[in-house]
Amino acid sequence: MEKFTLILLSSRPTHEVLRSTICGVVSSGNLEVLVESKPNRDDCTVVVNTSAHGFRDIWEAVFRDFTRRHPAGGLSFTINDAGATPAVVSLRLDQAFETCCGDGI
């Protein structure tokens, strides 16, 4: 497994995150994302634990896109990955964000 932490600047979400959220399942080509709130609300932290070695640059690109799409400041993402493609990662991040910060929740 390869493990690393990323910190990305991002604006603050409009909704308070009341409880943590988990999204996805650790199975081949899939991943789980645990979203929790953290004290510093000017950036978001990402901890990735992945079975696919050597793709840190791509994870950084996927998260840069994500923090542009969504205000993720004050959120911490912890990921257990079993070889998900970037498209699947983006989808799970959007689902997780929608569940914990989206309207109507």
């Binding site: 988990i22 650790v26 079975s51």
Partner: protein, 298 residues
């Protein structure tokens, strides 16, 4: 709770819980943020899951207090490792003090997690003992099977200890799985690639015909919810009597008779002949028609 046509088979364990239980009633024990992951998988440098493939907690179902276990079949085949098993045992121990109306087991597991070897096997034997304790204390266990892994190995044993077993046609129940039998005894014994044969032998319809499952339901989360509420209300209205020796002996005699009757059977079709006027039509029967023709479980 939206989307009435959600397939139980395709849903994740968390999705099943959210569709089965009363809205916002679920409290998870050992939730993902506690990060109780498998130390064995970490040693093997394999991916871990924050819930180790099982979700346990307290909820209400149609207002009745229940404790519930949901296995995630997509994480290492719902296999029972040390942490996974400890969570189930802990929940069953809690049932003795909380006394819910029932413990619901949403099984979706191939059995022991082979990566964890003896720790997994010990966990399973502890689950068996805990399940017997809970039921001896008058709290029934209801098993629900409709996931892609079915209930095999140790989880097949645990399922058969439960007071009631609800299955969909897609659900499967057995001890050794088809691929294990083929590996050990050869393809002539059991062709695990023959999907129709696998389901005719391990699937919900055969298990229900033989009485190993007590109810067949459609592959829809609301159908499982309705069945669970129905069982709770039945057990509330008429609490089960503990198994007396003569009841156990009669069950044993029935099993011996069944063994003698179907000793040479190679396929579910040969068994359906005993229960249905048109055995060839069984695979295409709707759940309602099947339950009507199958009658009351033995």
């Amino acid at each position: 709770m939206s989307g009435l046509q959600i397939s139980y088979f395709e849903a994740s364990a968390r999705k099943r819980l959210s569709g089965l239980l009363d809205a916002d009633s679920f409290t998870e024990f050992c939730p993902p943020e506690m990060r109780q992951t498998s130390p064995h998988l970490a040693l093997l440098d394999a991916p871990v899951a924050f819930d180790d493939g099982v979700i346990v907690g307290r909820a209400t179902l149609s207002g009745y207090p229940v404790l519930i276990i949901a296995q995630e079949g997509r994480f290492f085949g719902g296999s029972v490792g040390e942490v996974h098993g400890a969570k189930i045992c802990g929940l069953l121990a809690k049932a003795l003090s909380e006394r819910p109306v029932a413990v619901l087991l949403l099984a979706d597991s191939g059995g022991v997690r082979l990566h964890e070897a003896n720790a997994g096997l010990i966990a399973l034997s502890e689950i068996v003992r805990a399940a017997l304790h809970v039921q001896a204390a008058g709290i029934p266990l209801f098993a629900f099977i409709g996931g892609s892994c079915g209930a095999f190995g140790g989880m097949g044993i645990v399922t058969r200890l439960c007071a009631e077993v609800v299955m969909s046609e897609q659900g499967r129940l057995g001890l050794s799985g088809p691929e294990v039998i083929e590996t050990v005894k050869g393809v002539d014994e059991f062709d695990s690639r023959d999907r129709a044969l696998v389901w005719r032998i391990t699937g919900g319809k055969l298990r229900r015909a033989l009485g190993e499952a007590t109810l067949l339901v459609d592959d829809l989360i609301p159908a499982f919810r309705t069945a669970a509420i129905h069982l709770i209300e039945r057990y509330q209205a008429q609490p089960p009597v503990p198994d007396e020796l003569d009841i156990l002996l009669a069950a044993q005699a029935n099993l011996a008779k069944r063994r003698a009757r179907f000793d040479g059977a190679r396929d579910g079709r040969e068994i359906w002949q005993d229960f249905f006027a048109e055995p060839s039509r069984v695979p295409e029967m709707t759940v309602a028609e099947f339950n009507r023709q199958a009658g009351v479980p033995p």
